[in-house]
């Protein structure tokens, strides 16, 4: 066992692999952060759609959620990887494909979190808002969403942890994230045990830190 391979490639693994600074368009965080933000925006529509009174909106939204929750993420990534170039006629870079796949996939899970958050707001709040003369859009915008958002925060952090781990699958299509960076180094140095153990620890530090933060938020918000 020889851990000097870690020291020699430390900056490549961390700055290129984890953060995304370097000659490749890559980076675990550079994929995970936009993916959660865009996924959240799409997720709001899915979550609201699931709660819509009209069946024309509710049924497709429900089907969307059930479909993506019943299919492996790897499969979704391959769909985007093989099908987008056929549809558009031009091949897209790995980053765009991976980002699109993660946004669409995560929106199904985030939509469920948003739906649960909205449903956690007591019915009386809506009635009180209606009684003061707010329209249903105003009620959603000023009364329900702000409270729902607060209730969702711990679940959102947890979902971000899941997404952060899932971005490793983008390496399958060649995106240079932390996992792919370790593979690249390993192809040259042939030190799989040291390298994969090291990136496992990097992933662990990030996710464990975030999960502690989620637990802290949960405790603080439940007291408020």
């Amino acid at each position: 066992m020889d851990f000097s391979v870690i020291a020699n490639n430390f900056s490549f693994l961390i700055s290129q692999g984890l953060l995304g600074f370097g000659k490749f368009t890559g980076g675990t965080l550079r994929l995970a952060i936009p993916a959660i933000i865009l996924g959240f925006i799409l997720g709001i529509f899915i979550g609201l759609g699931r709660l819509a009174r009209s069946g024309w909106v509710r049924v497709p939204a429900t089907a969307y959620v059930e479909f993506f929750r019943g299919v492996p993420l790897v499969m979704v990534i391959f769909w985007f990887w093989f099908v987008i170039p056929v549809l558009l006629g031009v091949p897209l870079p790995e980053y765009t494909v991976a980002l699109a796949a993660f946004v669409v996939f995560e929106a199904a899970y985030l939509g469920e979190i948003i739906r649960a958050g909205i449903q956690s707001v007591p019915r009386g709040q809506v009635e009180a808002a209606t009684a003061t003369g707010l329209t249903s859009v105003q009620t959603m915008r000023h009364i329900i969403l702000p409270q729902a958002l607060k209730n969702m925060i711990p679940a959102l952090v947890t979902q971000f942890i899941v997404l952060f781990k899932d971005t490793s699958l983008a390496s399958i299509i060649g995106y240079v994230d932390l996992t792919k960076a370790a593979q690249i180094v390993n192809n040259r140095e042939i030190r799989p045990f040291e390298l994969y153990l090291f990136i496992a620890m990097v992933y662990w530090l990030c996710t464990y830190g975030m999960s502690r933060y989620a637990r802290y938020l949960e405790r603080r918000l439940s007291h408020a």
Binding site: G70, P72, M75, F82, V83, T179, A200, W204
Partner: protein, 241 residues
């Protein structure tokens, strides 16, 4: 879009057989990993709530370390990282007997064992303490109380979250394609490679996963109804749906 659909690629030549092999490998690796995860999860979940200090600390380490690292990294670790450390003879044996399958099964089982463990721990903690006290007062030892009272109740209460985790395990078995296990996603890609028919191959693979997942959750819903403990079920599953 000028794409010629040709659905016959799914059954002409060898492709039909590839898909069937893929399904059977996916089920095989999932069932074996599920058994391993079940044993590891139940054991470490129970030890975390009641075990002596070194064991509960060891279980906590196992759970926190393994479930917080991507499954893909564990696949690479068990497949590329571990075999070179084994004696020559063991390596030869392993690579002659489908090392990728066993490494994939192990990675999947150990990873999901850590996730099962959390589910089981929360289930055990949701059982009123009086159950354990009552069991102990009838003269059972702690081990017996767990074996005959707490765990049987917990497992029945936990059918919905366990179903959820089992479905995750089944879907996550697709990650094993990265180390060359010829499961369903691998075979789907292989069909795509040989026929250049991405739409058809991916549709077939996706539909098969959907059928497997929906089938399994329907089966578990029946099981849940048959195993329900009247008056207790509401305790663990807060009204989410």
């Amino acid at each position: 879009m000028r794409y010629q659909f040709d659905w016959s690629v799914l059954w002409s030549g060898q492709t039909g057989q590839w898909l069937l092999q893929g399904i059977s490998t996916t089920l095989e690796i999932s069932v074996l990993a599920w058994l391993l995860a079940g044993v590891l999860g139940t054991l470490s979940g129970a030890l975390r709530t009641a075990g002596p200090r070194p064991f509960s600390a060891l279980s906590a380490f196992y759970v926190e370390f393994f479930r917080n690292v991507p499954l893909l990294v564990w696949m690479f670790f068990w497949y590329f990282g571990i075999p070179p450390l084994l004696p020559r003879l063991a390596q030869d044996w392993l690579f002659a007997h489908g090392a990728e399958f066993w490494a994939g099964m192990f990675a999947l089982g150990v990873y999901h064992g850590a996730r099962f463990s959390e589910v089981i721990r929360s289930g055990i903690q949701s059982i009123p303490k009086t159950q354990l006290e009552a069991a102990l007062s009838t003269g059972l030892t702690v081990t017996q109380a767990y074996r005959f009272v707490i765990i049987p109740i917990a497992l029945r209460l936990l059918i919905p979250p366990i179903t959820n985790e089992s479905l995750n395990l089944l879907k996550n078995s697709s990650v094993a394609l990265t180390i060359g296990v010829a499961e369903l996603t691998f075979q789907t890609r292989q069909i795509e490679t040989y026929t250049a028919k991405a739409f058809e191959a991916l549709t077939a693979g996706t539909l098969i996963y959907l059928v497997l997942c929906l089938g399994l959750s329907a089966f578990m819903a029946v099981l849940e109804k048959r195993c329900a403990i009247p008056g207790l079920i509401a305790r663990v599953t807060p009204a989410e749906h």
